[in-house]
């Protein structure tokens, strides 16, 4: 029978992983409210999302500080070291995704209190947002379960987001000559772009899952060498 030692350290590490990945739940709920604000042009709800981003930043700081302390005090090695390195990356992604929700929410007052200029574009953005939410949940689950196949599948899921983003772009090009309408479309393109980045951040988390499990870091998709 192998007796476990350093149980307190192990417990602390498990707690920090749960707390760091819990940041993804905060992002999911932030994204939900962001999409609701987009759908209903709800400026107050958007303000709430912006204010609540402090909670995500607070989680980032809290877990980051504790991970640094664990590195300094417990000398983690091997899988534990990879896990801590990966969690530091994941935290950054969590914080970025929270900021993307804030970016979208800051755009909502700019779109005015008018009804949307193009219902189809709003529909596309909401669909993108829901897909991004799926990616966030899947990234979290893949990390928790150390499931590399599930992590790699994030690339496929992210392609859906990318395609919707291109459709948004095409719609914006065809929106016509009306200045207000064009401005609205440009603003909505920025929102689409922010959601697209959330998808990318989820894929980044997937890459960290593969690093924890295999010890090798490899980008699932290399944007600068797409054919390699």
């Amino acid at each position: 029978m192998v007796e476990e030692t350093r149980v307190y350290y192990q417990e602390e590490l498990e707690k920090l992983e749960a707390s760091g990945l819990g940041g993804l739940d905060l992002v999911s709920s932030s994204l939900d409210r962001t999409l609701e604000a987009v759908e209903h042009q709800d400026v107050e709800l958007a303000q709430l999302v912006i204010a609540d981003d402090d909670r995500i930043d607070g989680r980032y700081l809290e877990v980051h500080q504790s991970l640094i302390a664990l590195l300094a005090m417990q000398s983690p090695v091997a899988t534990d070291l990879r896990l801590i390195s990966a969690l530091l990356h994941v935290l950054k992604n969590v914080e970025r995704m929270g900021d993307q929700c804030v970016n979208i929410c800051k755009l909502i007052p700019l779109t005015g209190n008018q009804p949307p200029a193009d219902e189809e574009m709003v529909r596309l953005i909401l669909t993108m947002g829901k897909q991004a939410r799926t990616l966030i949940s899947q990234a979290k689950r893949a990390f928790e379960e150390r499931d590399v196949a599930m992590a790699q599948d994030l690339v496929r899921q992210d392609d859906v987001v990318d395609n919707l983003n291109r459709e948004c772009f095409a719609l914006a090009l065809e929106i016509g000559d009306d200045v207000d309408k064009r401005e609205w479309a440009m603003t909505m393109l920025l929102a689409a772009r922010a959601i697209e980045r959330i998808g990318d951040n989820s894929v980044d988390i997937g890459e960290q899952v593969a690093f924890v499990v295999t010890g090798l870091f490899k980008e699932f998709e290399d944007a600068s060498h797409p054919d390699a």
């Binding site: 030692t5 350093r6 350290y9 930043d57 980032y60 700081l61 809290e62 504790s66 302390a69 900021d99």
Partner: protein, 297 residues
């Protein structure tokens, strides 16, 4: 953290506010840890100096040891950390030329006061040494030794079991309590010495390099045990293993050697004393930083 370049000044402020809130409010583990170590002081040292034959070994030590904390003393060889530890239960009394100056309070009372019985003090302030030193007796008799001497012979079996459980050794030895203690492994012998120490119900345990003669697995067990024991006792540990101090202690004191102008005399001096996390992530003194990062020492 500044993803959005258009973020307003107020946006940055709220971020700082969040940082502050995070530092204050969202570290429950940290607060629990420090809540477990009450701010009640076990030892208060004020300008303590220890001399051997009139020559200072350590000088000007001022620090408080808190109840239910693990307090680590670290520093290079010859910095006086063991000397300091031995002051805390009057072990230096056994060295004829040793002399302790300054104020050393134990629960607010002068530990070196005329009415203090050193033997009684050592019962309350137990010590575990570098090399496991069981008596050449059975496992049972080792643990029962203290209570027997103190005349506490009621429920001796229960006391022995309690102490062995407290030292996380019971399960390994319960079926061979009458075996000679020398038959145990080094790590088990050290836990037996801890059991022997806690059998007389001390309130503080001093440990002088308790793991330096042990393999990593036994060391891990003793370190886990320390974290369990601090629920009930206060622990002061001397270690030359910085990582051990980092792993187990709540507060760390860093001592280093100081030389006089003509480099004839050397003594230990306290450089920094703070929460262990602070010492190992962001020490205040450059000398501490150089020592804990292995650049000197």
């Amino acid at each position: 953290m500044t993803q959005d370049e258009s973020r307003s000044e107020t946006g940055r402020e709220s971020r700082e506010a969040a940082a502050e809130r995070a530092a204050i409010a969202v570290r429950p583990e940290e607060f629990q840890r420090h809540a477990s170590g009450t701010r009640e002081k076990v030892f208060e040292l004020k300008g303590v100096e220890v001399l051997y034959g009139g020559v200072s070994a350590v000088k000007d030590i001022t620090l408080d040891v808190h109840r239910n904390d693990v307090t680590a003393l670290i520093g290079p060889s010859g910095c006086g950390k063991s000397t300091l530890l031995r002051c805390l239960n009057r072990m230096n009394d056994l060295i004829p030329t040793a002399e302790v100056k300054g104020e050393l309070l134990y629960h607010g009372e002068n530990l070196y006061g005329p009415t203090v019985d050193p033997v009684q003090a050592r019962k309350l302030i137990g010590m575990v040494f570098q090399k496991p030193n069981p008596f050449p007796k059975s496992i049972y008799d080792n643990v029962a030794f203290g209570p027997r001497i103190l005349g506490e012979k009621d429920d001796l079996d229960a006391k022995v079991e309690h102490a062995l459980r407290g030292a996380a050794l019971w399960e390994e030895v319960k079926d061979r309590l009458e075996d000679n203690a020398f038959g145990l492994s080094g790590g088990q012998q050290q836990r037996l010495c801890i059991a022997r120490c806690i059998a007389v119900q001390p309130d503080t345990i001093l440990m002088d390099e308790p793991c330096s003669a042990l393999d990593p697995i036994s060391t891990g067990k003793i370190e886990d045990l320390m974290i369990e024991l601090k629920e009930e006792f206060s622990i002061v540990i001397v270690t030359h293993n910085m990582q051990q101090a980092a792993r187990v202690s709540d507060r760390t004191a860093f001592l280093m050697v100081e030389l006089d102008a003509d480099e004839e005399n050397r003594w230990g001096r306290l450089v920094e004393y703070d929460e262990t996390e602070k010492i190992f992530t962001n020490p205040s003194d450059r000398r501490t930083e150089d020592y804990v990062s292995g650049k000197v020492g």
